[in-house]
Symmetry: D2
Subunit: 347 residues, 4 copies
């Protein structure tokens, strides 16, 4: 049994952390922190669906110093550039950290600075952080004190590409990731982009050449492939749905073999991964809603010699809160799927 | 003033033809035909939004022989493989035809057979048909008696690729078209795929290696580029929205120049096209709903040297009924945009 | 040919006014005004769907004094309590006004103050204003200089109740109006209530006992019925859709006769109303999208002796911009349906 | 530990039963039956979200005779008029039954026949059945062998009305229930009414004077109130969302007291009901998705002296599968909320 704190509890990732942790038999939520406007409010005021289930008042990061002693592990769900101001003290206090933001996803300062335009002050913690993709780096995660939880788009993208990248089966100099996200990926903040009437019944691409997650994907796929020539073209889209990310990945097939071989490659690669499911049919994001699954299909267009992978996750679960708990389970020695056995909601 | 008949009036493309033609000052709708189950029903029973605006009973193709004499031009909105049984007689009667189906989009029998698995019986009309993409083949269309109106996906895809293909600015051996369609593209027929609960709030790919529109796109882009090595990888997706297609197109940049050059290339290419709009921002399908516009953006990822094009249409207008009327205007000598000046519905 | 100005052009009602007026053969849009943040921006920056169709920079109300002379009529689409500061000067300048806000919908100061908590400073214009429901007060509208355009909910509600109220066929002391609105009724402003993820795939009631439109409905139905005991219970709901209002109205049947009689009553009442359609089937809001129609059905539950009326409008057209143009047509002597002949968008 | 069978497993209620029962520590699913077309198919083929979680082939009702001996309790999720052919044999075999259909919701043959137009052949079981609304009839349910599980609309409606009906606080001769349902209430069957493009972005009423659930509501509210003059006016609507029912209930206040009194009445009435939550704010259906909760608010319009109640459920959980398991728990002596502690999915 461990005690945890959640920073950023008022956001969509935060409340999904609460949902999951309330089902987790080995975790007690000790405190919640959120933005100034939520100070003193009960989480049920922000999220009435929790009424009669869980009640706790929100505090703010101002209280972190005096409250860090009460917990064993803290989840940080903050915009980039903020966590790095608080993590050193938490680490120094001997506590574990799962950071859902971007501040600890890179172990290369220059790459981080290139994409986030921030000089990373926390050089020590920065170096000790482990990229929390359990399907790829489980051994490192188990020994870590600080996890940089992958971004939502990178989670779906990297899991889709990894078996090909690892096995050298594609031309890594030209990998296209066409990603489609539900609107919850933009958070609970209000702006014209998340206005119902602007999103409903329409689809559009955005940030087509410079989305920060492109850097994260390219950096990690390069680690996996070992090929410095790895080039990811990443285009995100906003889809009129609440949850879910679907990525469709294209790359020239550089191997030999047929579709059956490719499918076997994926099944073998993920044979020990409890949260990856390989399908012959292309997955629908609806099948993973409220679960920690990443559903993947691989196909081969023989006319153009192109491998096509589609991967589907719930951006708030496998793409955020669920994967964070999966990482917590690993660093705390709990079963990897504890608290994450939820069955999907269908339809 | 011409008289027209509409075959397939009960479908979504058919009713949008009616909507447009009722606004067209030079057209009288003389008769409607639909499936057997609609025989004798007024179109307002099928589509109550037309009440008090337009009333006409549906007939069936059985009546074609005796009714073809009443009209100057017929629109055919039928599943593939049916129109080709009726077109020869209409042509022989000296009438004009705009076929919204697939039967007359290829002038190569083998290619048609490869994708549709049908031996084309109507070899004469097949050869005289013109592919009805006015932005690309206007001169031919003006002289045509029989138009093969482009498919919805091909319309958005081909208009997106054409400026690059024509100018030799991309590596044509690896063009990826990631296409996202609203559900109306699947027609008004009922099946699990179009069930509200199966489509709402989720996205999926389908037919990832063998969608028939891939053949149409590759065939036409090959015509435009003149490069027999043209290879299109086409993956369609079903998006939870009613109308709209967005394509995101990826290809290696094979030219020199920068983004400004690419944008100028597009603006120049479409400078005389009243229904193509080039944007710096990526278009949203919402901006073209109920219009004949194709909105296009072009971008350049310099890291991976990849050109990224997004194009947005209303699949039922520019992707079907609107383009069909545009073709009718051209073959009848009317102004190209007659009946098509509708302003989009926003939000 | 008249010249008009639009204040509040950047909102959803404003841009729909533009859409309609661009189709109107007798109107020239002379200027647009919007909020401070839009100053100097072209309307196409705010609404890209207008690109290549209409271009005009936005000004602000600060410019009204010097620009009022350029126009014959001004449309005001502003939050309540603002128009009344500007209308006296416009009226004094001899210009016509169609106010889409609430400031001129009541001719009783106390009732206005009760619902809006504002002391109406503009007593003269207040008294000369005509409630712009053309189906009910056409003669007055034709002579008016200043129109208080009905609210969106009141439009659907009053048109649904009027035939019964006028004929004394229901118990007016207990009329229930259960109203369902698309999210565009809340405007383009951003807040948690209009956030996509909070509205998508869910429905809720709000302001169940004190929505201001309840006052407007009760006031107008009282005028129509002449019965001071008229009591309207009004409950609005937010529905996951962009456009449309459906009201379901319940009242005890106080007359004699059957369903056929009720239907005839409605058809007779609206026999000269070009924008009201009476159906035996219950209308769907989809059938009126982008039109000025109000579709109505009336039914009789003989077990409980209750009349049930459903009425459907597009909240942005018949509930705002369309009805405003209908009023403009009447006060300017144009055909009532000029610019409003748009056919609905289906599906 | 008990063994159960599910008839109608291929439908939306059926698959939600599976989801819930897989979380239930005291239940083993022994077999599944579905329609002929599903015979021999694994449930994962019908519902891929269950992949790697649960695998079982579907059988049909033809196999019931030989399989009824394997189970202790059977859930029937069938269209009305079918269960009554099979229940007598199951009862005779000493098994428990929770029937999610309408065949055992009435203990009055005439009322059943009036609404369903079926002569009930199974008179014995018909009489022994208990209406499975645990908040109202828990004592009876605990002793029952056969449960008629309430309909989805009746569940939300009756729970909303019951406190008022029981306490005589409203004029029961005029209760209006305006109900709004997600499309999953219409089942997984395909027809134009459930076509995505016909439902998306629009709302409509249907069956406004004769929906069968009106009979069920009136019958049960009459039981609760003891007032034979009880008259329910029920109007259902189809809302563009997948799950959820919201009812808005209107009745003349016939008591004394204020809003605080009414709220206290509700809180007292449901003080022992683990799945009813009383709110001051009006509930949104999103807050109960995938839970067994019924969220209720009560309000008082003092101008019209009308009580307004809104109640929200997940139609597939509290309105079907969840309530069925709640009933199973009661008749089997398990904790009432076993398997039903799921936290809602938000957003």
């Amino acid at each position: 049994m461990i005690k945890v704190g959640i920073v950023g509890a008022g956001g969509y990732a935060g409340v999904n952390l609460i949902n999951i942790l309330l089902r987790h038999p080995q975790v007690e939520i000790k405190w919640l922190m959120s933005e100034e406007a939520h100070k003193g409010k009960d989480i049920c005021e922000l999220y009435p669906h929790l009424t009669n289930i869980f009640s706790m008042k929100c505090q703010t990061l101002d209280d972190l110093d005096k409250m860090v002693g009460q917990i064993d592990l803290v989840f940080l769900a903050l915009p980039h550039g903020i966590a790095l101001n608080y993590v050193p003290a938490i680490i120094a206090a001997g506590k574990k950290v799962v950071d859902l933001g971007a501040d600890y996803r890179f172990d290369n300062e220059e790459v981080f600075k290139k994409w986030y335009n921030i000089e990373h002050k926390d050089k020590k913690a920065f170096k000790m952080a482990v990229f929390g993709s359990p399907e790829l780096f489980k051994a490192d995660i188990k020994k870590a004190q600080l996890i940089g939880n992958p971004g939502c788009y990178p989670t779906a993208s990297i899991l889709g590409i990894a078996p090909l990248a690892k096995a050298g089966l594609i031309d890594l100099s030209g990998v296209m990731v066409d990603a489609k996200s539900g609107v919850s990926g933009a958070g609970r903040g209000v702006n014209l982009k998340t206005h119902y009437c602007e999103r409903n019944d329409g689809i559009m691409a955005y940030a087509v050449t410079n989305h920060r997650h492109m850097g994260e994907i390219e950096y990690q796929v390069t680690r996996i492939s070992g090929d410095q020539g790895t080039r990811i073209t990443f285009v995100p889209h906003l889809v009129p749905m609440t949850r879910g990310i679907l990525t469709t990945i294209y790359a020239k097939f550089a191997g030999t073999g047929d579709l059956a071989f490719l499918r076997k490659t994926y099944r073998d690669f993920y044979k020990d991964a409890p949260f990856v499911r390989i399908f012959d049919e292309q997955p629908c994001t609806k099948n993973v809603v409220n679960t920690n699954y990443c559903d993947i299909s691989v196909d081969l267009n023989t006319n153009s010699n192109t491998v096509i992978v589609t991967s589907a996750i719930d951006n708030l679960i496998k793409g955020a809160a669920g994967q964070a708990v999966q990482n917590m389970n690993l660093i705390c020695g709990f079963p990897e799927d504890e608290g994450l056995k939820n069955i999907g909601v269908y339809p």
